[in-house]
């Protein structure tokens, strides 16, 4: 049996941020959070945390808000519950703890940690990575608080079965914290890669300072370390009781499996493959974790976190591409393994669970498959395997649509990936002169992008209005529309020459239409409006006439 203090002492989280989040959908399930509080309260015989509010009701409310994508309200409500929890224990006299220090029952601390994880999740999903990191770091501090750790050791039940449930109850939020922390770091890496690509798309050379490089590599090291810890923590199997509300829940069973860390490793390799350089220590974190778990204490010690010795040399583009391909292969491998593990967990769980829980397991399965489906689709697109990519993303969208509200912000991403793919498919069809298919594909892309845009910009979605995603989406819609127009024109053109002529005709028609809309109604005095001094309809002179000047001989 793994003692709980060992479990927590082994948690070597990064000094700075520990992020965490349950994957969007998972976090909506936050169920173990409060279920855990109740369970722990029973086991620890702690003072009940709820005097002025009912945690079960709050739990339902918070879960629903996240599930519906009402992020701002979710933040406000979670803060309210946090304050209530803290307020209730503010006057608790120090027990055997340090003099003058308020001692909180561990069950309350666990509840607070779970609330912080919840809040961090919401902040991350709103695109506010800094806030998410800060919140999750606070959760980490709470977990690592010496008094909390002392109390959970003291209060550990002697009974073997009860101890196991007690450990599971503590392990679940710990795993959530690890997973969510990794997700935040991966989001940061993704953001960095996006910025690099944006520079390339804008025609600028990507310039990365040594400091930036160091920072990015540090992020990767932290991801690797978190994932290793997460894998190790899951390698100590606990027998979960079907009667325990937290440990026996479908969510808990899924959480204790290795599907999530493997998914995170896959995503980590996907981001690594997009970097302009190869991270020097890019070793397989899963292998390292296995080695560490076999040979040293949990957490692997400092040695395991050291990057491998690297001789600085300039990487050629060919070498980089080879490395990127290798990283993408690994990404695919881990993501597929994650899917297999999720399916296995579900199958095992199904055999022991009550019939009414079957639906919950199926939803969990859909979520895991959806979460892995998106990066796998992107990877298939990188490999120009449009057929596989289409199959994957269609399955993903279908799976997620079956488990989410129709306008949930988390549905935006698979829609965007599907739209990207449709653009790729449309381009291929256009190149093959299959204009009808091309037009359909670009139409699909426009429709999906518009839907993603409406989801993200819905009044109640609360997605960060300053996110760089908004202009990118708008830009993509324009490009898709343009391509669709081209395809339509191509479809009606018997040949390339015909298409050129039709383009000129289209310009003439647009010119005529514009002319009509510019022509002001004839005023009562019979003079055209543009003969009047204060002519509102008159087009102002072009300020620069840039193209004309630029192209003039």
């Amino acid at each position: 049996m793994l003692p709980v203090y060992f479990l927590l002492d082994g948690l070597c989280l990064p000094t700075a941020p520990v992020g965490s989040r349950t994957s969007g959908v998972r976090s909506a399930r936050l169920c173990p959070v409060f279920a855990l509080v109740f369970a722990a309260a029973v086991f620890l015989q702690a003072r009940p945390a709820a005097a002025q509010f009912d945690l079960a009701v709050e739990r339902e409310l918070l879960g629903k808000l996240l599930q519906d994508g009402h992020y701002k309200q979710a933040l406000a409500e979670s803060r309210r519950v946090e304050e209530a929890l803290v307020g209730q224990t503010a006057g608790t006299p120090a027990k055997p703890g340090k003099k003058g220090k308020v001692t909180r029952p561990p069950a309350v601390t666990v509840a607070l940690v779970e609330l912080l994880i919840y809040r961090g999740t919401v902040e991350r999903r709103m695109g506010n990575l800094d806030a998410a990191e800060k919140t999750l770091t606070e959760a980490y501090k709470q977990v690592m608080d010496p008094e909390f750790q002392r109390l959970i050791r003291v209060l550990a039940p002697a009974d073997k079965e009860q101890l196991e449930q007690y450990l599971v109850g503590l392990k679940l939020p710990l795993l959530q914290l690890l997973d969510n922390g990794t997700e935040v770091l991966i989001d940061r890496l993704r953001k960095f890669n996006y910025e690099c690509q944006a520079q390339v798309a804008a025609g600028a050379a990507v310039e990365i300072t040594a400091e930036q490089k160091q920072e990015i590599e540090s992020l990767f090291q932290r991801v690797d370390m978190l994932v290793r810890t997460s894998i190790q923590e899951r390698q100590y199997p606990l027998t979960v009781s079907p009667d325990d509300p937290a440990a026996g829940s479908p969510w808990a069973r899924m959480m204790l499996g290795q599907a999530r860390p493997y998914r995170l490793i896959g995503m980590r390799y996907l981001e690594a493959s997009r970097l302009p350089w190869t991270v020097p220590f890019d070793a397989d974190p899963a292998s390292k974790a296995t080695e560490d778990a076999g040979g040293s204490k949990a957490g692997g010690g400092d040695k395991a976190r050291q990057p491998e010795a690297v001789v600085e040399r300039v990487e050629t583009p060919v070498e980089r591409e080879q490395q990127a391909k290798s990283q993408r292969r690994r990404a695919v491998g881990y993501l597929e393994k994650s899917r297999d593990l999720a399916r296995q967990s579900i199958e095992l769980a199904k055999s022991v669970e009550h019939a009414e829980e079957k639906e919950v397991f199926l939803q969990e399965e859909a979520r895991i498959l959806g979460e892995t489906g998106i990066p796998l689709t992107v990877l298939a697109m990188f490999g120009s395997d449009a057929a596989s990519a289409r199959k994957l993303i269609d399955q993903t969208v279908e799976a997620l649509s079956s488990t989410e509200q129709s306008n949930h912000p988390e549905l935006a991403r698979p829609l965007m990936v599907s739209a990207e793919l449709a653009m790729q498919e449309g381009s291929a069809a256009y190149a093959a002169k299959d204009f009808v298919t091309a037009e359909k594909k670009f139409q699909q892309s426009v429709t999906e992008l518009r839907r993603a845009k409406s989801i993200l910009e819905a009044d109640d979605s609360e997605f960060d209005p300053d996110s760089p995603l908004h202009p990118v989406l708008a830009d993509l819609i324009v490009k898709s529309q343009f391509q669709q127009g081209q395809s339509r024109q191509g479809a009606s053109a018997a040949s390339a020459a015909d298409a050129a002529a039709r383009r000129a005709l289209a310009a003439l028609a647009r010119s005529e239409n514009a002319k009509k809309s510019r022509t002001p109604a004839k005023p009562a005095d019979g003079k055209p409006a543009d003969e009047k001094p204060a002519d509102a309809a008159k087009k102002p002179p072009a300020p620069a006439k840039p193209a004309t000047r630029a192209t003039a001989p």
């Binding site: 996006y194 959806g370 979460e371 997605f463 015909d498 000129a504 002319k515 840039p546």
Partner: protein, 189 residues
């Protein structure tokens, strides 16, 4: 499902956007256009110009085209094929925007570059492309009161369209009507 929506997706979207432009754009049969869109330096300016044009910001679109043109001229020298998509797009924007006098210059430059290509036998695509620009140029001349040049450009457009696409093609008929109008204007003038 997860994630701050889409940062991951965006990366790919941007890459894709470039590759899509590479596949086809206006005057898609132009190797010059394909080359231009395959160029990391000019593709962003061109796609940005299209976006601005579609959102109605002609001046911004023209500014992007000016930058793209400067890049192309720097790389390939003046009067090169790679300029054609830029010149023609600029001309179209100005023409549709009613800035006919300004549209004349890029169209004239385009015609000057296209003439030698269209002169080659069996180069139907180039002949039609030239005729298309001549049609727009002729209309721009007509709109600015230059009936003589209008008739001249439109006559060539009609001849080229007739020879390549046939008498019944819509482009031929439109060019013929434009020529008739310009000729009437010239007569009246």
């Amino acid at each position: 499902m997860r994630s701050t929506p889409c940062v991951g997706a965006i990366v790919l979207l941007l890459v894709l956007a470039a590759s899509i432009g590479r596949a086809e754009t206006p005057a898609a049969t132009d190797p010059a256009m394909q080359e231009l869109l395959a160029d990391a330096e000019t593709a962003p300016e061109l796609t940005a110009a299209l976006q601005c044009r579609d959102s109605g910001d002609d001046d911004a679109a023209l500014a992007h085209l000016r930058r793209a043109n400067a890049t192309v001229k720097k790389k390939h020298g003046p009067n090169n094929l790679q300029q054609l998509p830029i010149l023609e797009l600029a001309g179209e924007i100005l023409f549709v925007g009613g800035r006919y006098a300004e549209a004349v210059t890029p169209f004239e430059r385009s015609v000057a570059i296209r003439e030698p290509l269209a002169a080659e036998d069996n180069n139907k695509d180039q002949k039609v492309a030239l005729a298309s620009i001549l049609l727009l140029l002729g209309k721009a001349y007509a709109e600015t009161g230059n009936a003589g040049n209008a008739v001249s450009a439109l006559t060539r457009a009609v001849d080229l369209f007739t020879a390549t696409l046939g008498e019944d093609h819509e482009a031929t008929q439109v060019a013929r009507r434009a020529l008739a109008t310009a000729s009437a204007g010239k007569g009246a003038g």
